[in-house]
Symmetry: D2
Amino acid sequence: MTSNAIESSSPLAERQIVVTLGCPDATGIVAKLASYVATSGGCIVEAHYFTDPHSGWFFTRQAVRADSLEIPVDDFTTGIGEIAEELGHNVRWRVWDTARPKKAVILVSKEGHCLHDLLGRVDQNDYPMEVAAVIGNHDVLRRTAENHNVPFHHIPFPKDAVGKRKAFDKVSEIVQSHDPDAVVLARFMQILPPDLCEMWEGKAINIHHSFLPSFMGARPYHQAYQRGVKLIGATCHYATSDLDDGPIIEQDVIRISHKDTPSDMQRLGRDAEKIVLARGLRYHLEDRVQVYGNRTVIFD
Amino acid sequence: MTSNAIESSSPLAERQIVVTLGCPDATGIVAKLASYVATSGGCIVEAHYFTDPHSGWFFTRQAVRADSLEIPVDDFTTGIGEIAEELGHNVRWRVWDTARPKKAVILVSKEGHCLHDLLGRVDQNDYPMEVAAVIGNHDVLRRTAENHNVPFHHIPFPKDAVGKRKAFDKVSEIVQSHDPDAVVLARFMQILPPDLCEMWEGKAINIHHSFLPSFMGARPYHQAYQRGVKLIGATCHYATSDLDDGPIIEQDVIRISHKDTPSDMQRLGRDAEKIVLARGLRYHLEDRVQVYGNRTVIFD
Amino acid sequence: MTSNAIESSSPLAERQIVVTLGCPDATGIVAKLASYVATSGGCIVEAHYFTDPHSGWFFTRQAVRADSLEIPVDDFTTGIGEIAEELGHNVRWRVWDTARPKKAVILVSKEGHCLHDLLGRVDQNDYPMEVAAVIGNHDVLRRTAENHNVPFHHIPFPKDAVGKRKAFDKVSEIVQSHDPDAVVLARFMQILPPDLCEMWEGKAINIHHSFLPSFMGARPYHQAYQRGVKLIGATCHYATSDLDDGPIIEQDVIRISHKDTPSDMQRLGRDAEKIVLARGLRYHLEDRVQVYGNRTVIFD
Amino acid sequence: MTSNAIESSSPLAERQIVVTLGCPDATGIVAKLASYVATSGGCIVEAHYFTDPHSGWFFTRQAVRADSLEIPVDDFTTGIGEIAEELGHNVRWRVWDTARPKKAVILVSKEGHCLHDLLGRVDQNDYPMEVAAVIGNHDVLRRTAENHNVPFHHIPFPKDAVGKRKAFDKVSEIVQSHDPDAVVLARFMQILPPDLCEMWEGKAINIHHSFLPSFMGARPYHQAYQRGVKLIGATCHYATSDLDDGPIIEQDVIRISHKDTPSDMQRLGRDAEKIVLARGLRYHLEDRVQVYGNRTVIFD
């Protein structure tokens, strides 16, 4: 009984085949790709190109209207793969059929604003994601998850190293059982161990409640208060084994004043956190992000 | 089992007595008020003053720590009333004890992002409001309301004038039964009849999905698309009998580009709408808004 | 004696050949263009593509490193022209060699902030423009222009229609003598007559001191004050015979409060005006703007 | 021949007496001050109060219409001083008659955008400042200063410590000869020695081209590029002997993308730098800033 208005505004209302590719730059790559797409009958809906002048890498994202392709998607994908192979051994490429929704597992602690916001977007058919499970190190947000018909797993995290490791193993097991496209740390207050960072490289997405690299680590709003800044921020980034130092996907700030205590900042900052996470995660889910070194190309 | 972090960031964690007053300006008003507060032992936590140079009106909002008052709140209120009387017959004043939470009724249609966002804030103990009821002219958002333990009333709106009027009478009856501090039009797609605007003057709060006064009326995102603007916005304002022309409480904008269709704007605009409504409504609930003519003073 | 730091940040430090093209969309255009560029040895530095789903028009801007071309620029241009011809009779295309700087004439009245800002950018080698002349309907800003070694022409504007028309003819004569790429209305307070709008179509760029379409016409800050908005703005747009209704290039806003009088808004708004004009005009000068209907594609 | 419109928007068009005061909080301070102002006939145009909950300090700024005072300004000042004395020995207070313009000396290096912007504001009667002198460690910006009839002093800075110290002594001598209210480091690329920081405590105002505390020290845009941030910023702060660590007055950010090189950031960042410096310096000049610890209260 959802209105047409809402349905029609779904970002993926129209089925698309999305090609992403990154490789060392060379003359003629665009021509080669564009010719192949044209030969396949593909009508390009959105096309982005970028060459990084420092690394000399070339990146592209091209979205083709699925119904314009005159060959099966599998054959099209094979063809793109052949071009990629010609371009060199270290080419990174992917073809995504938007008919296959992206899947996420969300890790949380006690603060529910990011989880609530994401589940609301999904529920209103406004976000390109299926949430397979929510895992909490506290049981606080069970109702939030279950209200949206998403299974909730409570995995308590003991304070000792061994207990913590076991808890992470259980988290990992649940996550892996879903083979998700994204592992979302939605104000999950535990630091991922290096092996999980590695296993989920390019998939684990964190929201940090500061404008990184300012105020890394614990209690960023208290740090911000101490320093007397006039804006506070939030940063959505890939989690790596270097805490709060992974490739940044999206950031934003909000203005504060001398009147705002750390508690006020927490309250005000929640809006930045949830919006920045939702934007950054959307880029990831729609294959709009490509990582090189510690930087990201965002084809928005 | 909510964390301390969340509790302590509640804007009203500390009980306050909030005095608001507006009157024609004259020398000595601040002295009179401040002396009275000091005599009562009141410790002022937050004080705002403003004199409008054009109308010559004076406005103030003062928040006193409740536990600092050496006299009962009722006596304090009586004292403020006596000062107000001395200041003239057209003085507008109020004393609000934050121990009494503000009550709202929320009117909705089919789009749930504003409702979902507000209920999430309340649920997370992050918003100074109790929601007495949600009324929808469609039955779409029942689950959203009931998930947060808020009663939902479905009042269908026929297209004919008589049927519509009857529906409004039912809405009005439910609203009045709760005697709310705010009647929130959270993307309620029906135009309030003048008598309801009058009855709820200074209480009925609408979110319009444009940067007013641009794109008043229907389908503002389509209007924005036609005009080719580079930013879209949202406006939180008091509903009056002049459609989309009431006193503005809060506004914000987000950047768009030539790539964004009206559907994209709808999707992007939802974030502006929910954030702007939440900010504007908070100002209203915390007695931070004073209206004069078609303008508002916001003591933030 | 300017520092290297400044020189190296010039947007056009590296000579580029910039191709812009707009035509009805069809499969294979990108392939055709990209193949031609590749065949010519061209190394693409920046490439943008956009197809408007409503009008079905395709737009592109491609910047090629001049020293990568293996054929003379004139031959390259001829080749692009031949492709354009194949694409249809209503194709709009252009090839710009950034070695040829763009030329502007600036029209002003009494307020100097936009003129001062633009001339400062040019002076600091930070803007892709040569200013051929400044024309003022008052003599106020002569020193500002002459300080930057730009000739200033004072053309007084009488109030009667005949006198005004004569003044416009003189303005037009000076402007035309320079054959400029841009006619910049930098807070020029006179309304261009339709014939000049037509003659300078796609070249005459105005800065209006409001967030259009709000507050068109005279005294927008006073209108904004009356309406009680919480943000004020500025809009850079192409001047057309419909006053303040031409295609929008760039817009921005700044936050104000109930304390701000129209005079405060004038002061605060100047920063928005000068920044928005500088951004929008830069897009125009760098061939980043393409107009279709009343909308603009901005390839930034 | 300047227009009325410009004159009337001058922030100090109306002569005001501005009282600022900071002291340990106690009940009744507002009453005492307000009573005194009222007794003196003072009509308060603007009043701000703030009590910092952590330090327990109280701050106020009150602007009185000069022509409303029924006693001479000197007597009024004496009266305020007497109240201050009653409030304790560590009270910090000041009375400023806006009829006395604030005086500044500006230190520059080679980049002229901040200097050009400030001088333009002063020139257009749009800024509450007189510029007594500009001092450059290079001779690059002489013409910019002299175009605005401001004397320019070129003090070359040798690379050796002794030579540098001598240069600083000359700078200090010129600065001190003007007894300025502000020493503005407008992209002055030399680090002030501790004794000058101390001598100009609360007067030396720097613009740093990053969002502090991110990217302190040299080449912040290159640091920002390395880190891959999505916003860059600028910070206006008091210079102290801790480099880039003094109390922050104002900050702002602008959005960048993966396409922006350090050179692009330099170009884009200049707009943030000049606007943020102009705003922060204005707060300082209008006695809107009060420092406590490493934080600032901004009464805007």
